[in-house]
């Protein structure tokens, strides 16, 4: 049987691309990496994702899979291995999917507004971002009390869906002009952050929060300059 060809097209600060990195790295799948310049997208990217022309795209044996959570689901199906991301139980699976999707609906949405919005809308984005993290703190306490991850002792689909935002916390706080509450207020969240950051597979591909913060500030400056 010939070796699988696995390639990830990504842009280094993308939390969506990071989800794919995490899924592959947690499972120990080898893959090639291609950095895309968003201002000069490769022909390969445009052909692999003609609908959105966006990263991340996973190309597996020549077939492209797009949309980060769809990709993570796919990875979990094709390489179940020792680290299964989706629980077997349909209800627990639905809960894991809900929280991964929460990353898109609430965290990313608020974070995006922190970078691009002005005035009152910008202030609200900060409130919404904090609210979202508070919900995650509460969820961790309900779903996996006393455990470090949504998946209990190991990261699951929900953890992979949400963890990529951690390296963006510094950047969001900088452009938002606020400081996130500490472990006294959000004990579960902070334990989760520490647990995620100590996983070797996670350390492998996570960009430095300082670099991400610098990137966030560059975009924010551009947005403010254009206003």
């Amino acid at each position: 049987m010939s070796k699988d060809s696995v390639k990830l097209l990504n842009f280094w600060p993308s939390m969506f691309g990071l989800r794919v990195h995490y899924a592959l790295d947690l499972k120990g799948v080898s893959y090639d990496y291609q950095e895309e310049s968003l201002l000069n997208k490769s022909k390969e990217l445009l052909e692999a994702n003609p609908i959105y022309t966006k990263i991340p795209v996973l190309i597996h044996n020549g077939k492209p899979i797009c949309e980060s959570l769809v990709i993570v689901d796919y990875i979990d199906s094709v390489w179940p291995g020792s680290h299964k991301l989706l629980p077997e139980d349909p209800y627990e699976k639905a809960v894991a999917r809900f929280w991964a999707d929460f990353g898109d609906k609430k965290l990313y949405d608020a974070g995006n507004r922190l970078i691009r919005a002005m005035g009152e809308e910008h202030k609200k984005a900060g409130e919404d971002f904090k609210w979202a993290l508070m919900k995650i703190d509460e969820a961790l306490g309900t779903i996996a009390p006393g455990k470090p991850f949504f998946g209990g002792d190991a990261m699951n689909f929900a953890d992979v869906g949400l963890a990529p935002f951690i390296c963006w916390f510094k950047g969001y706080q900088k452009v938002g002009g606020f400081v996130l509450p500490g472990p006294e207020e959000w004990p579960n969240l902070h334990k989760w952050v520490d647990a995620v950051n100590s996983v070797d597979a996670i350390k492998k591909s996570t960009p430095s929060p300082d670099k991400v913060a610098e990137f966030a500030e560059v975009i924010r400056k551009r947005v403010l300059g254009a206003a």
Partner: protein, 237 residues
């Protein structure tokens, strides 16, 4: 009726999200209680307890547990009752086919059920901005047409007789397209540009399960007309 005890769907008659879950439940031949929520006055205690994060319908309650997010509910139903009624909604044995189905279900959500969608922007804007957004929306429908073509059947599932995951995701379109044209004053591609999509629309409207799950067209139009004025005010620049 093993396992269906206490199956309950919290719904709202004109929600495309809730109606498509009803469709999935009916296609599976499941028996459930329908609880209509009074979204504009007072959400029920059950809704607020079951979906404390988003406080939105639809919510499926099964064995006392709440499942939220419409396509999440459809997947859950497909997993718990894989062989019931119409059979599998998501392709069972092919991970790539499953990923393709999820991608296109998500496309429908992004392009027709999201506040950042061109369809929404086109509806609430005017002049050149409206026309540009409308053109983009038409391109989105052409993309759906191309995907439908590639699937080789009447339905997005590829079958000529049974609906699948993407069909359910898009199942509200036959009832909502008239709201786009009559209330949003949008152009939609006709059978000349999108023949397969129009054939699909007719097939969905013909389905007894879909007819039962979705609201009366005129009632929906009347309701949407009223809501649209409020929405426009809220989102107009």
């Amino acid at each position: 009726r093993m396992g269906e005890e206490g199956l309950k769907l919290l719904t709202f008659w004109s929600s495309p999200f809730a109606c498509r879950v009803r469709l999935a439940l009916d296609l599976k031949g499941l028996h459930y209680d329908l609880q209509e929520e009074d979204l504009f006055n007072a959400k029920s205690a059950l809704l607020l307890e079951s979906n404390p994060v988003h406080k939105k319908i639809p919510v499926l309650i099964h064995n006392g547990k709440a499942i939220c997010e419409s396509m999440n509910i459809v997947e859950y139903v497909d997993e718990v009752w894989p062989d019931r009624g119409t059979g599998f909604l998501l392709p069972r044995d092919d991970a790539f086919a499953r990923a393709t189905a999820r991608f296109w279900a998500d496309f429908v959500d992004k392009k027709f059920l999201s506040l950042t969608a061109a369809s929404f922007k086109a509806a609430i804007s005017s002049g050149e901005e409206k026309e540009r957004a409308n053109d983009e929306m038409i391109q989105d429908m052409v993309a759906l047409e191309r995907f439908l073509e590639s699937q080789g059947g009447v339905f997005f599932s590829g079958s000529n007789t049974s609906m699948g995951f993407v069909d359910i995701a898009a199942s509200f379109l036959p009832w909502w397209l008239p709201t786009y044209t009559e209330i949003g004053r949008l152009r939609v591609p006709g059978p000349d540009t999108c023949p397969l999509l129009h054939r699909w629309i007719a097939a969905v409207k013909d389905s007894p399960e879909a007819k039962a799950a979705f609201p009366d067209q005129q009632e929906l139009l009347d309701f949407t007309k009223v809501r649209f004025e409020e929405v426009k005010k809220r989102f107009a620049q």
